[in-house]
């Protein structure tokens, strides 16, 4: 199928299908919520975005590693007694 050929009949039939607007209530609700989300996401500065994306996960991972190291050390000490 290329640009110069007419589309096959079953695909041409699909082009006749109507575009459907969402119900007015849904349309307005989604618009309102998305605009609020847009305002909230763009009000975060680059520092906050970096914090959310890298600093927080790194801190969490470091806490887990420290806790596991302590747990293994403690378990090893108990075993050696």
């Amino acid at each position: 199928m290329n640009g110069s050929e007419p589309p096959p009949p079953e695909l041409a039939a699909l082009r006749e299908l109507q575009v459907e607007e969402p119900p007015a209530l849904v349309r307005e609700r989604v618009r309102r919520r998305a605009l609020a989300a847009l305002a909230s996401s763009s009000s975060r500065g680059p520092g906050q975005r970096l914090l959310a994306r890298f600093a927080m996960p790194s801190a969490l991972a470091a806490t887990v590693v420290v806790y596991l190291a302590w747990a293994f050390t403690a378990a090893g000490a108990l075993y050696r007694r």
Binding site: P7, P8, P9, E10, L11, A13, L14, R15, E16, L17, Q18, V19, E20, E21, P22, P23, V26, R27, R29, V30, R31, R33, A34, L35, A36, A37, L38, A39, S41, S42, S43, R44, R49
Partner: protein, 189 residues
């Protein structure tokens, strides 16, 4: 292919300008909704996924790449949300609701009057499309209804060009066969 007017729109979205969002919402909401409605075959699910698609755009706006094709981005997100939903929803319940949805579509039978002929033709196509498996529906909706090129559709579905070509061929055969089964002129003859 990316709309050339989208560069400034994407830049404005990245700055969080509500007016840019309104333009994008006005431009694509009906197409995204119709896509989800036909993909899900359930109004309530389509409504939820439609909302989530636009919330994702709003939340992701500051991180959009400057060369983002918004139309392809929105359809990719909408389709991925549907795939996730389908994975978690009870397949038996989905099947039952889907069959009920097919039954609710206008029947192709009826008076072959000029005024209703076009509407009947569209209803027949809708019915045939709704009877196809999800994988076939999504590829037909993207290529046949939305007019995405095969490369764009392959990127949206996350498959190779060759896999897309095969899926499209199979989906077309299934649609042609479903249309034949629903052909009112054959039923009359």
């Amino acid at each position: 292919m990316r709309d050339p007017t989208e560069g400034p729109l994407v830049a404005a979205l990245r700055r969080g300008e509500p007016a840019a969002f309104e333009v994008v919402y006005g431009r694509y909401r009906a197409r995204v909704y119709a896509f989800l409605r036909r993909l899900c075959r359930r109004g309530d699910v389509a409504d939820d996924l439609f909302q989530e698609t636009w919330l994702r755009l709003a939340r992701h706006a500051p991180r959009l790449r400057s060369d983002t094709d918004l139309r392809a981005w929105l359809f990719t997100v909408a389709r991925n949300l549907w795939v996730s939903h389908r994975r978690w929803a009870d397949p038996r319940a989905l099947g039952q609701v889907a069959m009920a949805a097919v039954d609710e579509l206008p029947s192709p039978e009826g008076p072959a009057d000029d005024r209703v002929e076009a509407a009947l033709r569209v209803a027949r196509v809708e019915r045939a499309l709704a009877s196809l498996p999800g994988g076939s529906r999504e590829v037909l909706l993207l290529v046949g209804v939305e007019g995405f090129g095969q490369d764009e559709a392959a990127a949206i579905l996350g498959v190779s060009h060759e896999a897309l070509r095969q899926r499209l061929g199979r989906a077309r055969r299934q649609l042609a066969s479903a249309l034949e089964r629903n052909d009112p002129t054959e039923a009359i003859a």
